[in-house]
């Protein structure tokens, strides 16, 4: 292990506010940005930060997610001593098969896995955020502060702070207080759900937490408060840059639209911090003789012979002659047939918008989610 830090990604979320997008796949496997899945971001961040071993804690309906992350070569995490390991709940000699009871419990149930690598530091990540971050710099910060735990934080507008876990820290970054969704926030530094712990200390605390009947076995609700109560050295590491939790259809659409902006902060084209993903074997995008493109983010295997304006098209999306796609996101393999019009919509994978139909509206407040084929009414 290059920097003696092992990463664990919590990827068990159902993401039920993403509605039909997550009935068959877990939230971290949801598509984003034309060719990516959300979990590509923490995994690529790990690869680029020199982390060799990543455990992915899955739970709900995870066959697709499991297969997806198991192919560690996508993120270069397939060298001699490295790997991406899928860790669902499992039966043990001394315990029956049971679901993970909380974020901390998911780690506790995998202490044996972590011990195999004997890491000095444990990095805990969430599988459903979009951002680029060098965890090795966070680790340097952690070491310099001689911290017991370091929590990445991001400034949020103070009026929204009550939706987050808020850190109150001193000038050095030492955390004095942690409040989960405070009514009257004292600071605007929200936890990003990214933690570095000294493994030995965390291991001890997790073992205590597992048998604590009053614990909900959660990092934010139980482990961090207990550490603070025990006067441990907790530090807030301030992150600057693009960070998005795409919890709803609207925010997922918006995060995709962000990519159309000149100089957007995520900058997926930056070769020094590439986000790696699945490789698809297909022709590059083909634009037919009638294609009209105006502000668009388009990837391999798309075929376009209609109008695409202000939209993001995922692998294999097709826009037939005379069709119009405006202010919309087409997920993989969506077909918009001749003359159909899609406006302010997020069209789920494999959906066919039949010839001549219309979905979405320029005037709607919310983004229309199109999760089933659109047929002409008779």
């Amino acid at each position: 292990m290059q920097n003696n830090m092992l990463a664990m990604i919590l990827a068990g979320g159902r993401g039920s506010r993403l509605k039909d997008l997550t009935t068959r796949v877990a939230k971290p496997a949801v598509h984003y940005g034309g060719k990516y899945r959300i979990i590509d971001f923490p995994l690529s961040n790990c690869a680029n930060s020199g982390i060799d071993v990543v455990g992915v804690l899955t739970q709900y309906e995870s066959v697709l997610l499991n297969s997806y992350v198991a192919a560690g070569r996508r993120w270069g995490l397939d060298s001699r001593d490295s790997g991406v390991y899928v860790l669902p709940p499992r039966e043990k000699a001394d315990a029956d098969l049971d679901v993970y009871r909380g974020t901390a419990d998911a780690i506790s149930q995998n202490i044996d896995f972590i011990d195999t690598y004997d890491p000095e530091y444990l990095l805990i990540l969430s599988g459903d955020h979009i951002y680029k971050m060098d965890y090795s710099e966070m680790l340097n910060f952690h070491k310099q502060r001689n911290a017991d735990a370091t929590i990445a934080v991001i400034p949020v507008p103070i009026e929204e702070a009550s939706r987050f876990g808020i850190m109150n820290a001193d000038a050095e970054g030492m955390i004095l207080e942690f409040e989960e969704k405070p009514e009257k926030p004292k600071s605007n530094l929200a936890s990003m759900g990214i933690y570095i712990f000294n493994w030995k200390l965390l291991r001890k605390m997790l073992i205590e937490d597992m048998v604590n009947p009053d614990s909900s076995h959660d990092f934010g609700k139980d482990i961090i408060p207990t550490m603070l109560a025990n006067d441990k050295r907790l530090f807030a590491y301030k992150f600057q840059g693009y960070w998005k939790d795409v919890g709803t259809i609207d925010s997922l659409w918006e995060a995709n639209m962000d990519l159309l902006d000149e100089g957007n902060a995520l900058n997926l084209r930056d070769g020094s911090w590439t986000i790696y993903t699945e490789d698809i074997g297909a022709l590059p995008q083909y634009l037919g003789p009638n294609a009209e493109i105006d502000r668009a983010y388009i990837t391999e295997a798309c075929k376009i012979d209609g109008l695409v304006r202000n939209s993001v098209l995922f692998s294999g999306a097709e826009v037939a002659t005379g069709a119009k796609v405006i202010d919309s996101v087409l997920m993989p393999n969506v077909k918009v047939e001749e003359g159909a019009v899609v406006t302010r919509a997020l069209v789920a994978s494999d959906v066919i918008v039949e010839a001549g139909t219309t979905v979405g509206s320029a005037k709607s407040t919310n983004i229309t989610l199109v999760a089933a084929d659109v047929k002409e009414e008779e």
Partner: protein
């Protein structure tokens, strides 16, 4: 599992694609934006369950060696299979000694240790798809000593002028292999693709060496037409021989036709290449793109028509590009007008107003040049 190993052969030294070939062998040339020419023979072999492949690289090995280094990209089991590059190791006094036979001879001990009974040999400068396993089966069932693949054309007067053709009898027996000199309309163009037993291949290598130090594989096979049962098998589908600058240019632009795309690319016969990890292509307001193939990672603010754009190309405001190939990482600066051009990798076209070529005489801007 196929009972054959594969060899991807280099073009012989009479073939030269001006400009681009200075930097890499034809196998490493870009094709349709994201592929390289060698991806086609490699994918043909991989899809035919041939997973032990020797690649002869005659010159400038770096780019090709880089490109094919990961067998896994071609869906080849990395333990069981292997893509191995054969270099011309002994620097000969003159390029005429630099033949495929001399490299096979140098590496004969490797070939002798391979336990496959058959070998399939395909060229690195032709683009086509072919199920080699089916071809091998046909070869075995026919009882022929050597099976050669050919493509029938009725444009032999104008095209394939640097290729050979097979003289076939009515039983598809090969009576000779000769250079196509454009004297007839219909020809069975030889696709430089051979199937034979490993032992016969080894014998032919020895025979060629004994005959002449500059004899190549095609010549020794041609000379063996009387002694051996050599048969032709017809290929169907898209076929391009990249033998000079114009044939390379034309073959690329031909792929802008969706009907041609379907011939070469089908979900049942995937063409593999290395991963680029480029983000999608970003079109800004004011950009336009019509009848074009555009790879990922581009930033497009100008206008593109009837062209093929490689990975990571940057096209600034007011640019017009027509009937051109823009290779990966090139940069076309504001307001420039290009027609019938091949802009090589990493080139920057910044300080000119326009470069206009013609269908018969497309232009070329060198790799890494700034103009």
């Amino acid at each position: 599992m196929a009972k054959a190993f594969g060899i991807i052969n280099s073009s012989a030294n009479h073939i030269n694609i001006e400009g681009m070939q200075k930097y890499r062998p034809i196998g490493a040339f870009p094709f349709t934006g994201k592929y390289r020419v060698i991806d086609f023979p490699l994918s043909n072999m991989s899809n035919s369950d041939i997973d032990r492949i020797l690649v002869y690289v005659r010159e400038n090995p770096r780019s090709l060696t880089e490109h094919i280094r990961t067998a896994g990209n071609y869906n080849i089991n990395s333990k069981r299979g292997h893509i191995q590059v054969l270099f011309a190791e002994s620097n000969s006094a003159s390029d005429i000694y630099n033949t495929d036979i001399s490299v096979f001879m140098e590496n004969l001990s490797i070939i002798e240790r391979l336990s496959f009974p058959y070998v399939v040999i395909a060229p690195n400068y032709m683009v086509f798809t072919q199920d080699f396993d089916a071809l091998l089966q046909q070869h075995v069932e026919s009882g022929a000593d050597i099976t050669l693949l050919y493509h029938r054309t009725n444009e032999a007067k104008e095209r394939f002028l640097l290729s050979d053709y097979l003289k076939l009898n009515r039983q598809k027996g090969v009576e000779g292999i000769e250079r196509n000199r454009g004297t007839a309309k219909e020809r069975d163009i030889f696709m430089d693709t051979y199937v034979m037993s490993r032992q016969l291949f080894i014998d032919l290598v020895h025979k060629a060496v004994d005959y002449s130090s500059i004899c190549n594989l095609c010549q020794i096979v041609a000379m063996s037409c009387r002694d051996l049962d050599i048969r032709g098998v017809a290929h169907r589908g898209y076929f391009a021989a990249l033998t000079d600058f114009k044939s390379y240019f034309d073959a690329n632009l031909e792929l802008l036709d969706p009907a041609v795309q379907c011939q070469l690319f089908s979900p049942q016969w995937p063409i593999y290449t290395d991963t680029s990890d480029f983000c999608p292509t970003h079109y800004f307001a004011g950009a336009s793109a019509k009848n074009s193939i555009i790879a990922n990672g581009c930033v497009i603010r100008g206008n593109v028509e009837n062209s093929i754009i490689g990975r990571g190309v940057v096209i600034d405001e007011g640019v017009t590009i027509k009937n051109s190939l823009i290779q990966a990482h090139a940069h076309i600066g504001k307001g420039i007008h290009l027609e019938y051009q091949v802009i090589d990798k990493w080139a920057e076209v910044l300080h000119v107003d326009e470069i206009i070529g013609s269908p018969d005489n497309p232009g070329y801007v060198k790799r890494e040049d700034i103009i």
